[in-house]
Symmetry: C2
Subunit: 266 residues, 2 copies
């Protein structure tokens, strides 16, 4: 399990899913990781590395930093370790709520697509803050499914996205986390909080993003919760199918999604 | 009347409203106008200048261009003329569907917050395209009320925003226009269409934007349709009041809104 499975991981753990998260990271890398460069020799803790999808980009952006990447899932850590053989990264199975590190052991914390899965994100941020040195920084990146809108608009398509949010809520997480990054960092005791949107906009003039983001990341993510959504009775299979059909139509239209990236100081 | 009143102008024409649109333009200027600079001597047509809120910034960004700003409203043109006394701008009352200009008379077209009010935006774009020279460019800027999301989330607050969209639709416009800029430009015959989001994100760490955008632009805009929304029976006064109260609460939370800026070639 990784940190997410503590409350039930809505994205699942199949091999297909592992590849999808990898694709997503590659497409999003520039959007999300621009500006994230940790100096040589600084001690960086990646919290909730999962299968290493973001670790790849962390290493690329900070090739001489001293990186530790943790996850609660033994399986995910094994995948990540095989995937990112960089000499300056050490992978470790650990629980963010009970970190096996001394106070102030790290100069920087990196927390990407983790808080959305947690029942108490403020408690999580406060727990990881312990191992950050005073004056050190934390970087948080989260999506927000409420930022998804598209053309042609469709209430049926929207209903399938709403299923994703509802299932994540029932699992104890929050699919609308991105908009809360500033309040959460502030509530956890960080200062000098700066949050900015990183917006993904896709239309027919950007075919690589139509494939890499709209189709293979976002629509694939929604399609991935079909069985759970139907089992929970959130939609009928007819409603689901119509929603997905409408959602697939946006690859010829436009799609908008916003991530939020926050940086703050201890 | 300006171009918008052809289909009923949801924003209205009061003095307060004129000031609000001015405030909005000043706060948004950098976000919206960055990158818009027309060379000295080039002939630029601003379509639907209204009270000149954007003309101020057009002139600032292109002080040596030869600018013509038109609007269907005699009153708006009078306000704009008094407000923007720049020597390189000529204001004129004109209907975008029947422009008093020769074919290919302009090098650039500028169309900001206009299409959202029109019943047939493709026809409007095709009509203004006539006066653009081959190889000339068009710049289109539009908001999208479906991009508005906020913390704390509230279904009541969302319902007041939905009223804005519904009233605009009933008036023949479209409050969800921004996401359609690329398809519309393409359908009107423009080529090399490039659309990018310009996202406004506001939280407590940006108090000037809390005042200038969240409170005095967005919430003020929603509050402005109260009487029409109640008269149309879209909400009860109790629902409206609760929605506005929840919406005002977001000044202590976070707020997100996306504009879309498109550039294309004839």
């Amino acid at each position: 399990m990784d940190v997410a499975t503590a409350v039930g991981y809505v994205h699942g753990y199949s091999g297909v899913e592992t590849r999808r998260l990898g694709d997503q990271a590659d497409t999003l890398a520039e959007l999300l990781h621009a500006g994230t460069h940790f100096p040589a020799g600084t001690r960086v803790l990646e919290v909730g590395c999962g299968v290493g999808a973001q670790t790849v980009h962390l290493v690329a952006g900070s090739p001489a930093a001293d990186l530790v990447s943790i996850d609660l899932s033994v399986e995910s850590v094994a995948v990540a370790r095989a995937r990112v053989p960089a000499p300056n990264v050490r992978f470790q199975v650990a629980d963010l709520h009970d970190l096996p590190f001394a106070d102030a052991e790290f100069d920087h914390l990196f927390v990407c697509f983790v808080l959305e899965h947690l029942a108490d994100p403020v408690a999580a941020l406060a727990a990881v803050r312990r191992v950050l040195r005073p004056g050190g920084t934390i970087t948080v990146i989260e999506g927000d499914h409420g930022s998804a809108f598209f053309h042609p608009a469709s209430a049926y398509a929207q209903a399938t996205i709403d299923c994703l949010v509802e299932l994540q809520a029932r699992a104890g997480g929050d699919g609308l986390l991105g908009r809360q990054v500033e309040p959460l960092l502030t509530a956890a005791g960080f200062r000098d909080v700066v949050v900015r949107p990183r917006t993904m906009y896709v239309d027919r003039t950007r075919p690589a993003l139509v494939e890499g983001f709209t189709r293979n990341t976002f629509i694939a993510m929604v399609e991935g919760v079909r069985d759970d959504a139907l089992a929970a009775g959130l939609l009928t299979s007819g409603e689901w199918d119509r929603g997905i059909a409408d959602l697939r139509r946006i690859v010829d239209g436009t799609f908008h999604y916003t991530f939020f990236k926050g940086i703050a100081v201890k």
